[in-house]
Symmetry: C2
Subunit: 111 residues, 2 copies
Amino acid sequence: MNEKDQNLKALLDVDLLKKLVVGIGEVSKITGIPTRKIRYWEEKGAIQSESGAEGSTRRYNYLNVKKMLLIQEMIDEGFTLDAAIKKVEKRMVTLNEAFRKLADTVQDTDE
Amino acid sequence: MNEKDQNLKALLDVDLLKKLVVGIGEVSKITGIPTRKIRYWEEKGAIQSESGAEGSTRRYNYLNVKKMLLIQEMIDEGFTLDAAIKKVEKRMVTLNEAFRKLADTVQDTDE
DNA sequence: AACAAATTGTAGTTTAGTTACAAAAATAAG
DNA sequence: CTTATTTTTGTAACTAAACTACAATTTGTT
Protein backbone atom coordinates (compact mmCIF):
# COMPACT_ATOMS: atom_id res chain seq x y z
CA MET A 1 0.00 0.00 0.00
CA ASN A 2 1.50 3.32 -1.05
CA GLU A 3 1.63 6.57 0.88
CA LYS A 4 -1.34 8.16 -0.80
CA ASP A 5 -3.53 5.17 -0.02
CA GLN A 6 -2.40 5.26 3.59
CA ASN A 7 -3.30 8.91 3.92
CA LEU A 8 -6.64 8.16 2.39
CA LYS A 9 -7.16 5.28 4.74
CA ALA A 10 -6.45 7.46 7.76
CA LEU A 11 -8.81 10.12 6.56
CA LEU A 12 -11.69 8.44 4.86
CA ASP A 13 -13.70 6.16 7.07
CA VAL A 14 -15.97 4.55 4.52
CA ASP A 15 -17.91 2.67 7.16
CA LEU A 16 -18.71 6.00 8.75
CA LEU A 17 -19.49 7.59 5.41
CA LYS A 18 -22.05 4.90 4.75
CA LYS A 19 -23.75 5.65 8.02
CA LEU A 20 -24.02 9.38 7.41
CA VAL A 21 -27.66 9.42 6.42
CA VAL A 22 -29.43 12.74 6.25
CA GLY A 23 -33.06 13.74 6.58
CA ILE A 24 -35.25 14.85 3.71
CA GLY A 25 -35.02 18.50 4.67
CA GLU A 26 -31.27 18.39 4.52
CA VAL A 27 -31.36 16.67 1.14
CA SER A 28 -33.65 19.39 -0.08
CA LYS A 29 -31.21 22.06 1.05
CA ILE A 30 -28.28 20.25 -0.53
CA THR A 31 -29.89 19.50 -3.87
CA GLY A 32 -32.41 22.29 -4.25
CA ILE A 33 -35.14 19.71 -4.86
CA PRO A 34 -38.31 20.38 -2.85
CA THR A 35 -39.15 17.78 -0.20
CA ARG A 36 -42.51 17.19 -1.81
CA LYS A 37 -40.79 16.26 -5.05
CA ILE A 38 -38.37 13.94 -3.33
CA ARG A 39 -41.28 12.05 -1.79
CA TYR A 40 -42.96 11.86 -5.18
CA TRP A 41 -39.84 10.49 -6.82
CA GLU A 42 -39.66 7.91 -4.10
CA GLU A 43 -43.27 6.87 -4.73
CA LYS A 44 -42.37 6.44 -8.39
CA GLY A 45 -39.44 4.24 -7.43
CA ALA A 46 -36.75 6.63 -8.62
CA ILE A 47 -35.01 6.56 -5.28
CA GLN A 48 -35.05 4.41 -2.17
CA SER A 49 -34.68 5.89 1.27
CA GLU A 50 -33.58 3.89 4.27
CA SER A 51 -36.83 4.56 6.07
CA GLY A 52 -37.05 1.14 7.60
CA ALA A 53 -40.42 0.81 9.28
CA GLU A 54 -43.56 2.74 8.34
CA GLY A 55 -44.21 5.91 10.24
CA SER A 56 -40.53 6.58 10.67
CA THR A 57 -38.64 9.32 8.86
CA ARG A 58 -36.77 8.91 5.60
CA ARG A 59 -32.99 8.84 5.62
CA TYR A 60 -30.73 9.20 2.60
CA ASN A 61 -27.10 8.22 2.27
CA TYR A 62 -24.35 9.67 0.13
CA LEU A 63 -25.20 7.61 -2.94
CA ASN A 64 -28.92 8.35 -2.64
CA VAL A 65 -28.22 12.06 -2.72
CA LYS A 66 -25.79 11.64 -5.57
CA LYS A 67 -28.50 9.82 -7.49
CA MET A 68 -31.00 12.61 -6.99
CA LEU A 69 -28.49 15.15 -8.24
CA LEU A 70 -27.93 13.04 -11.35
CA ILE A 71 -31.65 12.66 -12.00
CA GLN A 72 -32.13 16.39 -11.66
CA GLU A 73 -29.31 16.95 -14.16
CA MET A 74 -30.92 14.65 -16.70
CA ILE A 75 -34.27 16.37 -16.30
CA ASP A 76 -32.64 19.74 -16.79
CA GLU A 77 -31.19 18.40 -20.00
CA GLY A 78 -34.68 17.62 -21.24
CA PHE A 79 -35.23 13.97 -20.39
CA THR A 80 -38.52 12.82 -18.92
CA LEU A 81 -38.48 11.58 -15.37
CA ASP A 82 -38.80 7.96 -16.46
CA ALA A 83 -35.98 8.29 -18.99
CA ALA A 84 -33.83 10.06 -16.43
CA ILE A 85 -34.40 7.28 -13.92
CA LYS A 86 -33.34 4.63 -16.41
CA LYS A 87 -30.24 6.52 -17.47
CA VAL A 88 -29.17 7.21 -13.94
CA GLU A 89 -29.87 3.67 -12.85
CA LYS A 90 -27.23 2.46 -15.28
CA ARG A 91 -24.80 5.04 -14.07
CA MET A 92 -25.41 4.01 -10.47
CA VAL A 93 -24.39 0.42 -11.14
CA THR A 94 -20.89 1.66 -11.89
CA LEU A 95 -20.89 4.10 -9.01
CA ASN A 96 -22.04 1.48 -6.52
CA GLU A 97 -19.36 -0.89 -7.72
CA ALA A 98 -16.68 1.80 -7.51
CA PHE A 99 -17.84 2.64 -4.04
CA ARG A 100 -17.58 -0.95 -2.96
CA LYS A 101 -14.06 -1.11 -4.34
CA LEU A 102 -13.10 2.09 -2.56
CA ALA A 103 -14.35 0.59 0.68
CA ASP A 104 -12.10 -2.40 0.09
CA THR A 105 -9.04 -0.33 -0.81
CA VAL A 106 -9.39 1.86 2.21
CA GLN A 107 -10.55 -0.66 4.77
CA ASP A 108 -8.21 -3.54 3.98
CA THR A 109 -5.63 -4.28 6.60
CA ASP A 110 -2.04 -3.50 5.56
CA GLU A 111 -0.40 -5.85 3.13
CA MET B 1 -3.56 12.69 -12.78
CA ASN B 2 -3.37 8.88 -12.66
CA GLU B 3 -6.18 6.39 -13.12
CA LYS B 4 -6.76 5.80 -9.44
CA ASP B 5 -7.15 9.50 -8.78
CA GLN B 6 -9.58 9.79 -11.64
CA ASN B 7 -11.72 6.99 -10.30
CA LEU B 8 -11.65 8.64 -6.93
CA LYS B 9 -12.63 11.94 -8.45
CA ALA B 10 -15.61 10.40 -10.19
CA LEU B 11 -16.74 8.70 -7.04
CA LEU B 12 -15.97 10.95 -4.17
CA ASP B 13 -17.72 14.28 -4.27
CA VAL B 14 -16.04 16.05 -1.38
CA ASP B 15 -18.28 19.08 -1.69
CA LEU B 16 -21.23 16.78 -1.21
CA LEU B 17 -19.54 14.94 1.62
CA LYS B 18 -19.08 18.21 3.47
CA LYS B 19 -22.77 18.93 3.18
CA LEU B 20 -23.87 15.58 4.57
CA VAL B 21 -24.77 16.78 8.05
CA VAL B 22 -26.79 14.57 10.33
CA GLY B 23 -29.02 15.22 13.30
CA ILE B 24 -28.10 14.47 16.88
CA GLY B 25 -30.23 11.33 16.97
CA GLU B 26 -28.44 9.91 13.98
CA VAL B 27 -25.06 10.70 15.54
CA SER B 28 -26.17 8.91 18.66
CA LYS B 29 -27.12 5.83 16.65
CA ILE B 30 -23.82 5.91 14.75
CA THR B 31 -21.52 6.44 17.71
CA GLY B 32 -23.46 4.90 20.57
CA ILE B 33 -23.08 8.13 22.53
CA PRO B 34 -26.37 9.25 24.16
CA THR B 35 -27.81 12.51 22.83
CA ARG B 36 -27.73 13.99 26.29
CA LYS B 37 -24.01 13.40 26.47
CA ILE B 38 -23.41 14.87 23.04
CA ARG B 39 -25.12 18.08 24.14
CA TYR B 40 -23.05 18.14 27.30
CA TRP B 41 -19.83 17.74 25.35
CA GLU B 42 -20.92 20.58 23.14
CA GLU B 43 -21.56 22.80 26.18
CA LYS B 44 -18.05 22.02 27.35
CA GLY B 45 -16.69 23.03 23.97
CA ALA B 46 -15.49 19.56 22.98
CA ILE B 47 -17.42 19.67 19.73
CA GLN B 48 -19.09 22.30 17.61
CA SER B 49 -22.29 21.61 15.75
CA GLU B 50 -23.46 23.65 12.79
CA SER B 51 -26.58 24.71 14.62
CA GLY B 52 -26.54 28.29 13.46
CA ALA B 53 -29.27 30.18 15.32
CA GLU B 54 -30.64 29.43 18.78
CA GLY B 55 -33.66 27.19 18.90
CA SER B 56 -32.61 25.50 15.70
CA THR B 57 -31.46 21.90 15.56
CA ARG B 58 -27.87 20.76 15.74
CA ARG B 59 -26.23 19.30 12.66
CA TYR B 60 -22.96 17.38 12.59
CA ASN B 61 -20.71 16.72 9.63
CA TYR B 62 -18.34 13.87 8.90
CA LEU B 63 -15.43 15.36 10.83
CA ASN B 64 -17.60 16.25 13.83
CA VAL B 65 -18.72 12.66 14.12
CA LYS B 66 -15.17 11.41 13.64
CA LYS B 67 -14.10 13.69 16.47
CA MET B 68 -16.72 12.30 18.81
CA LEU B 69 -15.62 8.77 18.05
CA LEU B 70 -12.03 9.70 18.84
CA ILE B 71 -12.97 11.38 22.11
CA GLN B 72 -14.95 8.34 23.14
CA GLU B 73 -11.95 6.15 22.34
CA MET B 74 -9.67 8.27 24.53
CA ILE B 75 -12.14 8.16 27.39
CA ASP B 76 -12.40 4.40 27.08
CA GLU B 77 -8.62 4.29 27.37
CA GLY B 78 -8.82 6.10 30.69
CA PHE B 79 -8.29 9.76 29.86
CA THR B 80 -10.45 12.41 31.48
CA LEU B 81 -12.81 14.28 29.22
CA ASP B 82 -10.62 17.38 29.25
CA ALA B 83 -7.49 15.41 28.44
CA ALA B 84 -9.31 13.55 25.70
CA ILE B 85 -10.47 16.80 24.17
CA LYS B 86 -6.94 18.20 24.09
CA LYS B 87 -5.49 15.03 22.60
CA VAL B 88 -8.15 14.80 19.95
CA GLU B 89 -7.90 18.48 19.15
CA LYS B 90 -4.29 17.95 18.07
CA ARG B 91 -5.23 14.96 16.03
CA MET B 92 -7.99 16.93 14.33
CA VAL B 93 -5.58 19.59 13.09
CA THR B 94 -3.93 16.92 10.98
CA LEU B 95 -7.21 15.40 9.92
CA ASN B 96 -8.67 18.74 8.90
CA GLU B 97 -5.58 19.53 6.89
CA ALA B 98 -5.62 16.11 5.21
CA PHE B 99 -9.26 16.60 4.42
CA ARG B 100 -8.59 19.95 2.83
CA LYS B 101 -5.85 18.37 0.73
CA LEU B 102 -8.12 15.55 -0.32
CA ALA B 103 -10.67 18.10 -1.44
CA ASP B 104 -8.00 19.74 -3.58
CA THR B 105 -6.74 16.47 -5.06
CA VAL B 106 -10.18 15.35 -5.97
CA GLN B 107 -11.75 18.62 -7.02
CA ASP B 108 -8.91 20.08 -9.07
CA THR B 109 -9.57 20.33 -12.78
CA ASP B 110 -7.48 17.96 -14.91
CA GLU B 111 -3.84 18.83 -15.40
C1' DA C 1 -59.74 19.40 -26.16
C1' DA C 2 -58.56 15.17 -23.64
C1' DC C 3 -55.39 12.36 -21.35
C1' DA C 4 -51.40 11.23 -18.76
C1' DA C 5 -47.20 12.64 -16.40
C1' DA C 6 -45.15 15.55 -13.09
C1' DT C 7 -45.32 18.73 -9.56
C1' DT C 8 -47.25 21.22 -5.76
C1' DG C 9 -50.48 22.44 -1.53
C1' DT C 10 -51.92 21.55 2.90
C1' DA C 11 -54.48 19.88 7.23
C1' DG C 12 -53.84 17.09 10.87
C1' DT C 13 -50.69 14.02 13.16
C1' DT C 14 -46.27 11.88 14.61
C1' DT C 15 -41.36 11.96 15.45
C1' DA C 16 -37.14 14.34 16.55
C1' DG C 17 -34.90 17.87 18.83
C1' DT C 18 -34.53 22.04 22.14
C1' DT C 19 -33.89 24.41 26.58
C1' DA C 20 -33.60 24.71 31.29
C1' DC C 21 -34.01 23.19 35.06
C1' DA C 22 -32.11 19.44 38.69
C1' DA C 23 -30.20 15.11 40.35
C1' DA C 24 -27.16 11.39 40.50
C1' DA C 25 -22.63 9.09 39.62
C1' DA C 26 -17.91 9.05 39.27
C1' DT C 27 -13.40 10.95 40.18
C1' DA C 28 -10.05 13.82 42.64
C1' DA C 29 -8.45 16.37 46.69
C1' DG C 30 -8.08 17.26 51.53
C1' DC D 1 -14.08 9.10 54.77
C1' DT D 2 -15.80 13.60 53.55
C1' DT D 3 -15.99 17.37 50.52
C1' DA D 4 -15.55 19.37 46.04
C1' DT D 5 -15.45 18.98 41.10
C1' DT D 6 -16.29 16.77 36.95
C1' DT D 7 -19.11 14.04 34.18
C1' DT D 8 -23.22 11.93 33.09
C1' DT D 9 -28.16 11.35 33.21
C1' DG D 10 -33.49 12.51 33.74
C1' DT D 11 -37.31 14.89 32.34
C1' DA D 12 -41.11 18.43 31.59
C1' DA D 13 -42.73 21.64 28.49
C1' DC D 14 -42.03 23.40 24.00
C1' DT D 15 -40.53 23.97 18.97
C1' DA D 16 -39.06 22.15 14.61
C1' DA D 17 -39.07 18.63 11.14
C1' DA D 18 -41.25 15.05 8.86
C1' DC D 19 -45.25 11.97 7.80
C1' DT D 20 -49.63 10.53 5.44
C1' DA D 21 -53.42 11.12 2.69
C1' DC D 22 -56.08 13.41 0.58
C1' DA D 23 -56.68 16.87 -3.79
C1' DA D 24 -55.41 20.41 -7.12
C1' DT D 25 -52.56 22.37 -10.47
C1' DT D 26 -49.27 22.55 -14.04
C1' DT D 27 -46.87 20.62 -18.01
C1' DG D 28 -46.39 17.75 -21.88
C1' DT D 29 -48.62 14.48 -25.51
C1' DT D 30 -51.82 12.58 -28.71
